[in-house]
């Protein structure tokens, strides 16, 4: 088995993992199962990043999404559901119109993707490259300097804003 065949097999395994666990996230009635299934979706997406030669992004995905956002979501689940009432199932609304809308969206997107003539016919050679982290670091302090600074201010504002909003106000 050469490396190209191995690439294909890994891609299909990861794609199946991502789509199956995302379906559980969307269709599960139990919000805790959905939150834990989101973990496998995020891991699978990180694997797809590795296949796309984005190793730094894959590690960032694991640290920010799995280590941060998912834990935050789990805290949200635990804090907003009454543990004593054990009712952590969630309902759905307007399923049939939403299903029609979503199937239409997916069909249109897929037909556009398949019909478009992509640059270089959408294929590429198997690349063995070193990590992209040095290139990203260089771009962050040269061509993307302004975005980098704006992102830091956005994060600061988000932290202060979240702390202010979630703070329990003292009565008297």
């Amino acid at each position: 088995m050469n490396s190209v065949q191995l690439f294909d097999i890994i891609f299909y395994v990861l794609a199946a993992t991502v789509l199956a666990s995302a379906s559980i996230v969307v269709f599960s009635r139990n919000i805790v199962y959905a939150a834990f299934s989101l973990l496998f979706t995020l891991f699978g997406v990180a694997g797809l990043y590795v296949l796309l030669n984005a190793d730094f992004l894959a590690i960032t995905q694991l640290m920010v999404y799995v280590g941060g956002i998912l834990v935050l979501i789990l805290f949200g689940v635990m804090l907003t559901n009454k543990v004593v009432s054990v009712d952590i199932k969630t309902g759905t609304l307007q399923v049939v119109p939403a299903a029609i809308l979503v199937v239409l969206t997916a069909g249109i997107l897929c037909s556009i993707i398949l019909a478009t003539h992509w640059l270089g016919a959408g294929t590429t050679d198997f690349l063995v490259v070193k990590t992209t982290a040095p290139k990203i670091g260089e771009a962050l302090i040269t061509t993307h300097m302004l975005l980098f600074e704006v992102a830091s201010v956005v994060l600061l504002v988000a932290i202060i804003g979240a702390a202010m909003i979630a703070r329990r106000e003292k009565t008297q």
Binding site: S23, A34, L38, A54, G122, I165
Partner: protein
């Protein structure tokens, strides 16, 4: 050696992931499930960025865009969950169809 897995494969995975996220955002009653759907949508956008960057000769610009999407997703999740916690404190529910007033 050209890869069998083409750009279209990645784009279709991302399109299906986007549709699943959209379905969660539109149909679920619980506000936290809506936030999870938004995370799925942001992840599908990131797969698109990285796939275009990779299949155009490993340009770095797509990866930079993906980094900023992740940064904004972190900020969005923090502020969104803070708002949800506050709503729960005031209304004692997080079902988006029951929260129809600006105040109690």
């Amino acid at each position: 050696m050209a890869l069998h897995v083409s750009l279209q494969h990645f784009l279709i995975v991302s399109a299906v992931l986007f549709s699943l996220g959209l379905f969660a955002v539109v149909t679920r009653r619980n506000a936290i499930m809506v936030l999870m759907g938004i995370e799925l949508i942001l992840n599908s956008a990131n797969i698109n960025f990285l796939a275009f960057s990779r299949y155009n000769g490993l340009q770095i610009d797509g990866q930079m865009a993906a980094i900023f999407v992740i940064i904004l997703a972190a900020a969005e999740a923090a502020v969104g969950l803070a708002i949800v916690l506050n709503i729960f404190k005031n209304f004692n529910t997080v079902n988006v169809d029951e929260i129809s007033a600006m105040k109690q």
